[in-house]
């Protein structure tokens, strides 16, 4: 038990002391058992106060410390660093949050906030008496990454990794690399051919000796942990053609599998183009096509556009089909981001080929964000006409039985809701991106799938390519709708993240993990089922087996702890003993 504790209570300028009586809090806790130093300070995180704490630890031979200040998210690492600099094990530091939990939650109740602060600090001291020295788990990292998906994001990620000296295993489900962008004729804003761009990238990948490519292959198993994953890749047998081995039965032979050892896994499995429901906006009527179908028509050749054998003189584009619908399931709720710009870009290509084609854009909101606003400007100048409709009053597409004319009826909000009818030869439904469901991959990697069906990063802005699984990263359109440029940007972010994780050669992992007291374990396996990270295994013993927790795989979530009927599992840094002592200190003792 730690007997020489330092306790520091912070004013946080006034953020805390305007509400909490800091001096009264100090007086109430200064004589707690084990406390040898107790001080207040204006800003505990300031350099001067940090140095004062270092001095206290060294002079007073402190074996534990408590800082009562702000959220642990903000400054745990700061004060662990202070402890480390003074030669105190960082895990003997305890942070108490009296800013968010007292000052900010109880503004206007000085007495109540102070009473709560005193109890929280007492609980922190009770824990600090029991904290133990922990050492980070050091893992050696393999200088190689697995990239799942050989579309534009996967290819750029593979090349980026190779260029910084990391090995790459690239796995593509289809028989050919290239993905969706490889099928596109013209990318905004440059007008470069997607097919050509992909061909160049594939050629670079093939020339790069550090990249091993497996096509017609799937990731089927993952073992190990961040820095040292062992993955199994199943390669589909090529269909036995006439020249194939005689008498071979492809069903009998299991697909050959390849094993690889990698430090990180980058998921870049892309998306699938959304298809409207039959009947929605006339989908199913001849002459009503989706944007991907239309761009293929435009890509097909330089001649005049035709539909049903007739020259196309007028086109209506209907935006946000099947998207931005609050009642929709999954991906239908959100904006697909790329499709406004892709449509406007395609309209410009049509106008460039034949300026006399009339183009009507029926939109709810137009988001050609960033510099792509220039494309929207250019399309208006080239004669595209924009009509705005309300979500609750969508355009109606019909084909007249007698005349055979296709027409779109819409109330134009820019014309005070005037009802107009637009005779057209072609209707283009702008449908956006849908997730590409891959339950097997999600299961193997344990990457969370969001309600929209896409793989989820930890935070879209702060940790945009990291997932909750250490060492498994996501990029490109598998994490949500993106244009090709944005997909490449996120692929390169995943490369940067991988470099940070692998280039040092080793990594330190948080030692606050669960441990099993083997003598008390009965091998009932309940904890195995509770672990969301697959970090618990069984180890045979003379009398049966006991659970063993892989320190590198454990995230310290604590899910296994309460499942153990023998109470044999403890979470280092948050042991039952520590938590019980904190509860006793919070609830017991004399009322403050």
């Amino acid at each position: 038990m730690n007997q020489r504790l330092g306790v520091y209570i912070c004013h946080c300028g006034g953020n805390i002391s305007d509400t909490v009586d800091v001096d009264a809090t100090l007086a109430a806790v200064a004589n707690e058992p084990g406390v040898v130093v107790a001080r207040t300070s204006m800003f505990t995180c300031s350099d001067a106060t940090q140095e004062a704490i270092v001095h206290d630890i060294e002079q007073e031979h402190l074996d534990g410390m408590v800082v009562a200040s702000c959220s642990p998210t903000l400054h745990t690492m700061t004060f662990r660093g202070v402890a480390r600099r003074a030669g105190l094990n960082p895990y003997r530091y305890t942070q108490v949050n009296i800013r968010e939990q007292c000052a900010w939650a109880h503004t206007g109740d000085r007495a109540g906030a102070t009473r709560k602060a005193i109890r929280l600090v007492r609980a922190g001291i009770a824990r600090a008496r029991l904290t133990e020295a922990l050492e980070p788990t050091v893992v050696q990292t393999v200088p190689r990454a697995l990239v799942v998906g050989g579309g534009i994001a996967g290819l750029r990620a593979a090349l980026g990794l190779a260029s910084i000296g990391l090995g790459v295993v690239l796995v593509e489900r289809e028989p050919e690399l290239g993905g969706y962008v490889g099928q596109l004729g013209s990318l905004y804003p440059t007008g470069r051919s997607g097919g050509e761009l992909i061909r160049e990238l594939v050629e670079q990948v093939r020339r790069q000796p550090a990249i091993t490519v497996h096509t017609a292959a799937r990731l089927v198993a993952k073992a190990g942990t961040f820095g040292d994953f062992r993955v199994t890749i199943a390669v589909d047998q090529p269909p036995a053609g006439p020249g194939g081995p005689a008498g071979s039965d492809p069903a009998a032979a299991p697909p050959p599998s390849v094993r690889a050892q990698v430090g990180t896994i980058i998921v870049a499995t892309g998306f699938t183009p959304a298809t409207p429901e039959l009947g929605a906006y006339g989908f199913g009527i001849e002459g009503v096509v989706t944007l991907p179908e239309f761009t293929r028509m435009v890509d097909a050749g330089p001649g005049p556009l035709t539909a049903g054998g007739r020259s196309v003189r007028a086109i209506a584009y209907i935006y946000c089909v099947g998207r931005r619908d609050p009642s929709a399931e999954g991906a239908g709720q959100g904006c697909a981001q790329y499709c406004c710009t892709a449509t406007v870009h395609t309209a410009l290509r049509v106008a460039g080929r034949d300026p006399d084609v009339r183009q009507y854009h029926l939109y709810r909101d137009l988001r050609t964000y960033g510099r792509y606003e220039l494309l929207y400007d250019a399309s208006r100048r080239q004669g595209s006409v924009y009509l705005r409709f309300a979500a609750e009053d969508p355009p109606r597409v019909s084909r007249d039985g007698a005349s055979g004319r296709l027409a779109v009826a819409v109330s134009d909000r820019l014309e005070a809701g005037a009802a107009v009818e637009i005779p057209v030869d072609l209707v283009v439904l702008v449908t956006g991106m849908a997730p590409r469901p891959d339950p097997q991959l999600a299961e193997v990697l344990k990457v969370p799938v969001g309600r929209d069906g896409f793989f989820h990063e930890v935070h879209p802005k702060l940790r945009p390519v990291a997932t909750v699984v250490d060492g498994v990263l996501v990029c490109g359109a598998c994490q949500g709708p993106k244009g090709a440029g944005e997909s490449v940007a996120s692929a390169l972010a995943a490369v940067g993240q991988t470099a940070a994780l692998l280039k040092r050669g080793s990594a330190e992992l948080d030692p606050q993990v669960a441990v099993v007291a083997a003598p008390r374990c009965t091998g009932c396996e309940r904890c195995l089922a509770a672990c969301p990270f697959g970090a618990i295994g069984l180890s045979p013993t003379a009398g049966g087996s006991v659970a063993v927790i892989d320190a590198a795989g454990c995230k310290g979530c604590g899910a296994c702890v309460p499942t153990c009927p023998e109470g044999a599992i403890d979470l280092l840094g948050h042991t039952d003993q520590e938590v019980t002592a904190m509860i006793d200190a919070l609830a017991g003792g004399t009322p403050a």
């Binding site: 009339r358 009507y360 400007d377 208006r380 100048r381 080239q382 004669g383 006409v385 924009y386 009509l387 009826a409 134009d412 820019l414 014309e415 005070a416 005037a418 009802a419 107009v420 009818e421 637009i422 005779p423």
Partner: protein, 101 residues
Amino acid sequence: MTAVVGAELAEAVGRLGPFDAAACMNCGVCTAVCPMGIAWLPRRLQRAVVLGLEQEVVAATEPVYACLLCRLCEVSCPAGVHITENVRTLRRYLNRRVFGL
């Protein structure tokens, strides 16, 4: 009565003189600054021409002639549309279409 959208009106007007409202993004600044306070001028009028809503244009004959050609809208237009020029050309069209001149 649902009006049918087409390019014919804009083409007919365009044959009589310069008429270019393609850059208009329907922000409505022109209508807001119009000293005559005529709601039809000039945003909706231009839009009716672009969409080909001839009946609406004809019905707006009086507002078109009420315009002072003061150019306040034109100097205020963020998209740089030559609104006064468009109104002049539209008057030429209405002279023929409505008054048979």
